[in-house]
């Protein structure tokens, strides 16, 4: 082929790729599911919530600027600080990680898109609706007003907190948690299975390591909160006494479940921000990051240890000292991996030739502030010190140093660094310098005095304070600092939003970075990557010869979209060897519709419109079924395709080779975590009661749970059998098993519910019947979902969409049923057998 011919071929390839990956035009733009569009909407929305929460923060500072102030009423002040914390954590800190990862992870991995683009879209719309619902409540004077951790009994009793505030918090945020878990599934599968050929685990960008760790943490941290939310709502809506000591409940269970989520959450917020530093620091030190393995140690180690810290938020609750000791020890231990990261960055900077750009300025500010916050963290990790500082402004100072130094400054550094990638233009260095110094000075002016005012005795969450406390000056300084800080941030916002039509595009790879995401052209193309590159180094742009030229010419894999379908490559976990070409779905309104009806369900439940809630539930199930039916497990027109360089890959895989099987596995891991949190609740109540079950309570007995477990076993066996029958081509038998299995599953769920009903367990009387009912309902609902899945497979099989060779659906459903079987066994063992073993009736 001559050069001219080659150019023509390349041009034709580019046109096809561009057409396939183009965003829809006009109002249909909002049906887009491509990671770049979703990621940018997601990021913009979370920053909008951040600004909203920031204004609330300023309102707090105005109220506290002088003693005996009445700028806000006490009740409204409570709503303001509750929403400030809630929105900053749930609507900004966590979502913005997911948002940024959705934009840059595929770029960094040389992937055209993440494996489930419509799931990202669904997550985004859930986030938007839930966030507006929670924040909007403030404008009706109906916002939650009991602190971002919603401690009962303050929040469970109508006489303390009348109105819907707590329900809005619980249901609105539960809905957003679902979105977070969806994003976590997407990001884990993306990192493990969508890397470019050759990007072995030891060559993966450190950002991807962090994403992997953090997304996995979400999977184990958010479900306990969901379980807690379920118990909480059952108490608020139906008077089931989980947190009411007069009927056997205990408010401490909420604190445990909340902080099992709440502490890892701090690291879920912090690690992705540090991940940005791990990308920025090498670029501006102009060398590879030192201690790659040490960063992996730090990320994985922190991910684990952060789960052993939850009770350090509960040091003053009267737990036995030995228990406090365990959590104190883990809290000190987590400083080790955290410190390792800081030293790795410092060592890299010291051995490189550092270019002092705006992102680097924010990186140094971040390190300085975070180290201070970390040191006060080591202080409050010691129980005796914490008893002194607990619930004072010392803790407020500590947490803002950690979060603003550990998360906001790195994020702003990341915004300056990655802005050209998203918008093809540079942010202003001059404004950036202004923004940095205003933010840095303002932040320290606002929060440094709080260490002192806290130790002197300024309590948290108070509406106002008397002049005699002598803290007027310190508070005034803090308030002035807060406004300087806010001004600095507004400079960033202005720079981002100002019209830049006449500003020239940034040059390609403007920072001279070494990692894959900087292959992007300016302005960027929607196709993600021109061709899927072969990776042989950690910094391919720096170290691989002719890399950009080969990439641009499409000399790597998949340079074309000859069938006019959106495709990305799936590779192996360890060594990223090519496995499959994955067809990914294009624009659709289905994720948005599904999110709207799911949101409607949660919102209607908040206001107790039960019939309407049921209708919304029906619509939710219907919309998800339509989405799955039309948008998943396509049977490709040919079994394999040539992806270039002599490589032929299958277009369809099922079972463990398929990304959807991984997604099912990961989702069910999260689901199992929520389930075990409820089981933890059962045993928690057992430990605090001398008699559990209480005397005179006789249920759920052995008979009905026994019947249920037998039916569950049969349904599980059917699900197992279907897979082999289907593969063997015995479609009639397979279909019979699908129908039968579904009916057995419904029977199993029904029998499980009949046990507590038949033995007259009354959930409002005591916590024992309440928790038994909860476990049974949870398991029965999962049985219903399992039945629905089997009927879905039956319908797919009858329509010829599930065949002996194209069996993604049934293999995923069989996997679901493994989890289902374990859940049924644990439930029955807990509610039926355990009372016998523990000597109850």
């Amino acid at each position: 082929m001559t050069d001219a011919e080659e150019t023509l071929v390349q041009k034709a390839q580019e046109e096809r790729l561009e057409a396939v990956w183009a965003s829809p035009k006009g109002w249909r733009y909002w049906s887009d599911v491509n990671n770049t569009s979703i990621g940018i909407w997601y990021t913009a929305t979370s920053f909008a919530f951040m600004l909203f929460a920031g204004v609330l923060g300023l309102m707090i500072r105005v109220q506290l600027a002088v003693p005996d102030n009445d700028f806000l009423t006490a009740n409204f002040y409570n709503q303001v600080y509750t929403l400030h914390g809630t929105a900053m954590m749930f609507l900004f800190a966590v979502p913005v990680f997911e948002a940024v990862a959705i934009i840059i992870l595929p770029q960094m991995l040389g992937a055209r898109d993440l494996p489930f683009p419509r799931l990202s879209a669904f997550g985004y719309w859930c986030f938007l609706i839930g966030g507006i619902f929670v924040c909007g409540s403030l404008f009706f004077n109906a916002a939650p007003n009991s602190g971002w951790f919603m401690y009962p009994p303050l929040t469970t009793e109508e006489r303390f907190t009348p109105g819907y505030g707590a329900d809005i918090w619980l249901l609105g945020l539960s809905f957003i948690e679902v979105a977070s878990i969806a994003a976590a599934v997407e990001l884990i599968v993306g990192t493990l299975k969508c890397r470019p050929p050759g990007m072995r685990l030891n060559l993966m960008p450190l950002y991807a390591w962090y994403v992997l760790v953090v997304a996995t943490m979400i999977l184990f941290a958010f479900p306990p909160l969901i379980a807690g939310d379920i118990l909480f709502e059952l108490e608020r809506l139906f008077d089931w006494p989980f947190f009411d000591p007069t009927r056997g409940g205990d408010p401490m269970l909420w604190q445990h479940l909340f902080w099992i989520f709440g502490h890892p959450e701090v690291y879920i917020v912090f690690l992705p921000a540090i991940a940005l530093l791990a990308m920025i620091v090498p670029t501006f030190a102009q060398r590879s990051l030192l201690g790659y393995s040490w960063i992996v140690l730090a990320a994985v180690g922190t991910g684990f240890l952060s789960f052993g810290l939850w009770a350090h938020h509960m040091f003053s609750t009267g737990l036995p000292a030995i228990s406090l000791g365990f959590f104190s020890a883990a809290s000190e231990a987590v400083a080790i991996p955290t410190g390792v990261q800081i030293f790795v960055f410092l060592a890299t900077l010291m051995t490189g030739r550092v270019i002092y750009s705006i992102p680097m300025l924010f990186v140094s500010g971040a390190l300085a502030i975070f180290v201070l916050g970390g040191l006060t963290g080591v202080m409050v990790a010691m129980a005796p010190f914490d008893w002194q500082a607990h619930d004072t402004y010392f803790v407020v100072a500590h947490l803002h140093y950690v979060l603003i130094g550990g998360m906001l400054f790195p994020l702003v550094a990341g915004a300056y660094y990655y802005f050209p990638l998203a918008f093809a233009r540079q942010l202003s260095a001059r404004l950036g310098r202004w923004a940095f110094w205003l933010m840095f000075v303002g932040f320290n002016t606002a929060f440094l005095p709080m260490h002192w005012s806290g130790l002197v005795g300024m309590p948290r969450r108070v509406w106002t304070y008397p002049e005699a406390l002598g803290l007027g000056t310190a508070n005034m300084i803090s308030s002035v600092g807060a406004f300087i800080f806010a001004t600095g941030f507004l400079v960033v916002v202005f720079d981002v939003l100002r019209p830049r039509g006449r500003q020239p595009y940034a040059e390609r790879n403007p920072w001279n970075a070494g990692t894959l995401e900087w292959l992007a052209e300016m302005p960027g193309k929607t196709w993600g990557v021109r061709s899927v590159p072969i990776i042989t180094s950690r910094y391919p742009i720096w170290e691989q010869k002719n890399f950009i030229a080969d990439y641009d010419a499409g000399r790597f894999y998949m340079p074309d979209a000859e069938e006019m379908k959106r495709e990305t490559m799936v590779t192996g976990v360890l060594d990223a060897e090519p496995i499959q070409v994955l067809r990914v779905p294009g624009p659709s309104f289905m994720p948005m519709i599904a999110a709207v009806v799911t949101g409607a369900m949660f919102i209607l439940a908040t206001f107790h419109y039960w019939m309407a809630t049921l209708v919304a539930l029906g619509l939710t199930i219907a919309s998800i079924l339509v989405w799955l039916w039309r948008g998943t497990s396509f049977i490709p027109e040919k079994p394999r395709k040539d992806v270039g360089l002599g490589l032929v890959l299958p277009l369809y895989t099922s079972g463990p080779a398929s990304v959807s099987w991984w997604a099912m596995f990961i989702t069910m891991t999260g689901d199992a975590t929520a389930f075990f949190s409820l089981v933890f609740g059962y045993f928690f109540f057992f430990t605090i009661h001398g008699d559990f079950p209480p005397p005179g309570v006789d249920g759920p007995g052995l008979f009905w749970p026994g019947v249920s477990v037998v039916l569950f076993a049969l349904a599980w066996a059917a699900a197992r059998l279907i897979q082999s029958l289907n593969s063997a081509g015995r479609l009639g038998a397979a279909r019979a098993c699908m129908g039968l299995g579904g009916v057995l599953a419904l029977g199993a769920g029904g029998a499980l519910l009949w046990g507590p009903h038949a033995t007259g367990l009354e959930p409002t009387v005591h916590v024992y019947p309440a928790i038994v009912w909860t476990l049974c309902i949870w398991t029965a609902l999962h049985a219903a979902v399992g039945a629905l899945m089997l009927f879905y497979c039956l319908a797919r099989s009858l329509c010829g969409l599930l065949t002996p060779t194209h069996d993604i659906d049934i293999r995923n459903v069989a996997l679901y049923w493994h989890f289902m079987a374990v859940m049924a066994l644990v439930t029955v063992a807990t509610v039926a057998l355990f009372p016998l073993a523990s000597g109850g009736s």
Binding site: G291, Y292, W294, V300, G308, I322, A329, V573
Partner: protein, 125 residues
Amino acid sequence: MELPNQTRDTLWTLIATPTIWALHFLFCYVVAAYDCAPNARIFQTIEGTRIAIAVATIVSLAAIAAIGWRAFREWRAGEGKSPHSADTAEDRERFMEFSSLLLAALSFVAVTFGAMPALVFVDCR
């Protein structure tokens, strides 16, 4: 040089030692919480809990040390040079071994930390 019975490292072997830490942590917490619940008789001594924690700690530390030693031996025997950024399955293996070693060291320290409260606290106060 390849050692006999070389383990193939995966993400699961990588997280083996912190998982032991997690189990040890949970065990210590649950045993103590169960022993002291409902936290009414605070001067009740907790001999049983302390012995159980001691046993769990020895077992956990031994397991972590064994896994760490395995990773160290295989890493040292390997040809690859730090920072293990070569495009070979061998270097990926060396990287995983070295990271496992680091995590084993961290887990060893964290388990030791976690056991220390059992040395000082003798009752449920």
